[in-house]
Chain length 71, copies 6
């Protein structure tokens, strides 16, 4: 199933830089123009998507998940 | 209370660009070097933090909230 | 940008049944074979995606967001 | 403590089909009329709830956690 | 459907102190021994659960949603 | 970068009581006046923040992540 568009407002294109494998979840670090974006997803998804360093991906974040801090 | 450091791996510094006010939650758009990052937070937080266009903030996203898509 | 695949393990295909509009976020009810799946997304996304009753969509849920209760 | 009702709008009843154990979090796959629903919860919760294949459960998802994609 | 137990590790019992109503989501403030716990849920859930000041509730938070900051 | 204030409404101060280490994510149990608050964060964050039993922290929860149940 190909997805045309998604409601997720925050999308960061980049390439997988590194993956730390775990038995259930894995950390996927994506190199983007905004810097490294880190994601934790199931290890099964890492395999199903064929993720490995160099693969082009989009990191997606729903707006309700974004917090704001003052500096 | 001042926070020294937070576990949230994904941090995007920027300036508030626009706020869409609602009775309970508001949308806060932050202009960052990575583009606009959109957040939905409580309207009470918008007031408590004194957010308005131009204010410097950091948008924070926990790694477990980031999804990965292949393009 | 068309997405080939996404890590989000839980995907429920269906048709938009109803939308409750708000100034910042809206509720989108999707009729799926599993029953109604309810989503709250930004009202801007509702417009950008052209959502209205009858439109075919997929409701997506990250595995880390699913809780389990015993009955 | 028995819970009478919960605000979580999306509830999928089913039976645990499989569990992938990890040291901190585990993946719990629930067979529901909607297909397999996958959850990642703490391994301590898996033990506290006595989850194992065949146990009847409800998978719960808060509406703010559901994304919508167009296909 | 009565729920016996839920995997959600963080549970704060208390009484509803105030509700700020919105068209789609509402803010529910719960007075607990730990102080006020604030929740944003759909306004339909507020009605379905019959929430109003004084009602006894439990505020629930999945462990994967908790961030940690150093002070 | 020191953070002055954060929008996250729910803040529980306490001390780290125990940490269960995993290869990707770890469980951090925080002793607070509200009881134990359990968090799952990346193991890299545990190291970067220098978390260990006795360290003073704040557990933070966004209001949109809090569910409400009736008892």
């Amino acid at each position: 199933m190909s997805i045309q568009a998604i409601n997720v407002r925050n999308q960061f294109r980049g390439k997988v830089k590194a993956i730390i494998d775990g038995p259930v979840v894995s950390e996927v670090d994506v190199e983007t123009p905004a810097g490294i974006v880190t994601s934790v997803i199931t290890t099964r998804s890492v395999r199903d998507l064929g993720l490995e360093p160099g693969v082009e991906v989009v990191a997606l974040v729903k707006a309700t998940e974004v917090s704001i801090a003052k500096i």
